[in-house]
Subunit: 283 residues, 2 copies
């Protein structure tokens, strides 16, 4: 975040740094998501991002306009993304000379026309608690995930929505946490070790829940690097051991028709989306 | 998700259930965020949501159009939200008779005009790994959060970005996980117990990191309910004990100028946004 408005490129030319603002009457999570989904299409540009959340009054909006106008007086035209819903605050923000992409403005009338009723146009807390029951389910899922991380507890495994199985350091934990926190799924994870391979079937602990198992794999090189950070120069982190474990794990998945994913090329968000899709197809 | 197209209301009238589709060439997280930010403005309507992620070819888009058109032949006009970037896939989706809110279409040209360069218009993985260094930081932060959950480890507390302190069951863990997973912050949390109150200062373990501490509180009734689920009819879950602990914790925060939040009315997303904002102001 220490970028200046001009960055020197390797070839000596100067790359513009575009000031970008995310404006919201709430957390700003939607404004950031929407704005970044567009900005990712400009990989050659540099952006200096600033989030201004919780804009809840016209007076606050006026201060934001001052910030935007100050940025607009600089050498590079800034860009602002807003998800603010309140009409009077939106109108205030539009007074700025800074180009403003107003997600609410452009789509709301279209959605209203399709649905045939007017939207409330109030500051709505999309990332607030919302449905309290669903919110509490997500919080309970985080606890369940921590309790069941890395095969620590086999209690209440029967109520798990998903059991992620994989050799140590293939990315089970972050994927587990993401599914719990975002979707309120009860996710356990179980580390495959050398003891689990002699038999043809799944480890006895998870065998009866085979239809809810999901496997992870990665590349031997990547696994060896990640394990090396934990235990340098050990058998555990050696390339030969990693190659062997991954081959055995993949054999196990295939033999038992457990769907699996390679975590070396997919983010936790992408793996979670695939796991959710697979659950829908299997249920 | 078992809603039919007509729901009976308490007054005997029928509430329409609007079929809603989220279409994406990637995970669909952005399409859901954007669509739901608009739909939350229609609290009286019922929506039957369906996510169709990973639409990666014109052929797949054609199948999606069939699904949309089938829904459009039903009694209630459906609504589709798309974040697909590829022009040929977008054009295919627009062939459906279903009203389509195309987030990409409407904003991209505006952003291009402001930035003065054309966007790539490729299927970009906003929720992919992206910046690998930043991605690895997020994954490492999840591990750090688990290691430091509930005061389990005081190792490497000096590198924590935030230390969340609160009495047991005030919501430390989910907030910790959210900050780690979404923002890659190193977050430890420390449970305040009766032992921590006799002194006027912060508990010795966290005292030297006071500027990075953030407190949580809640209402005595809420705390009592949540604790009751864990240990029914105990002193721990009694209203008097909860009232006492919360009063002492809030005194501690005030005396030591530790900013704090009430978790009974704020979601983890909202608390995280406030904590992030406070860190920016304090740094």
């Amino acid at each position: 975040m220490t970028a200046t408005s001009e960055d020197r490129r390797p070839d000596g030319s100067e790359a513009r740094v575009v000031p970008v603002f995310f404006l919201s009457d709430s957390t700003g999570i939607s404004a950031e998501t929407m704005g970044n989904a567009l900005l990712i299409q400009f990989p050659d540009l540099h952006f200096e991002r600033r989030l201004i959340p919780f804009i809840s009054s016209v007076e606050e909006a006026r201060k934001v306009v001052e910030i935007l106008d100050a940025a607009a007086a600089g050498p590079v035209t800034p860009l602002a993304f807003s998800t603010t819903a309140l009409t009077e605050i939106r109108e205030e923000l539009h007074k700025s000379v800074c180009p403003l992409i107003d997600f609410f403005d452009l789509h709301m009338s279209r959605v209203e026309a399709t649905l045939g009723v007017p939207g409330m146009r109030v500051a709505a807390r999309l990332h607030g608690m919302g449905d309290v029951q669903r919110y509490n389910q997500r919080m309970a899922a985080v606890e369940y995930a921590i309790e069941h991380d890395d095969g620590q507890s086999m209690r209440a495994l029967d109520i798990a929505d998903v059991i992620i199985i994989a050799p140590s350091r293939c990315g089970k934990t972050p994927t587990t946490m993401y599914l719990a926190l975002q979707y309120g799924l009860l996710v356990a994870n179980y580390p495959l070790t050398d003891d689990d391979y002699p038999s043809d079937g799944l480890p006895s602990t998870v065998a009866k829940y085979a239809s809810r198992c999901f496997g992870l794999t990665t590349t031997p090189l990547r696994l060896s690097q990640v394990r090396h950070e934990r235990r340098p120069n050990s058998t555990y982190s050696s390339l030969s051991q990693c190659t062997l474990e991954l081959r055995r794990a993949e054999d196990l998945y295939r033999r038992n028709r457990v769907p699996f994913l390679n975590s070396s090329t997919k983010s936790v968000e992408e793996m979670s989306a695939v796991i959710m899709q697979s659950l829908r197809l299997r249920s």
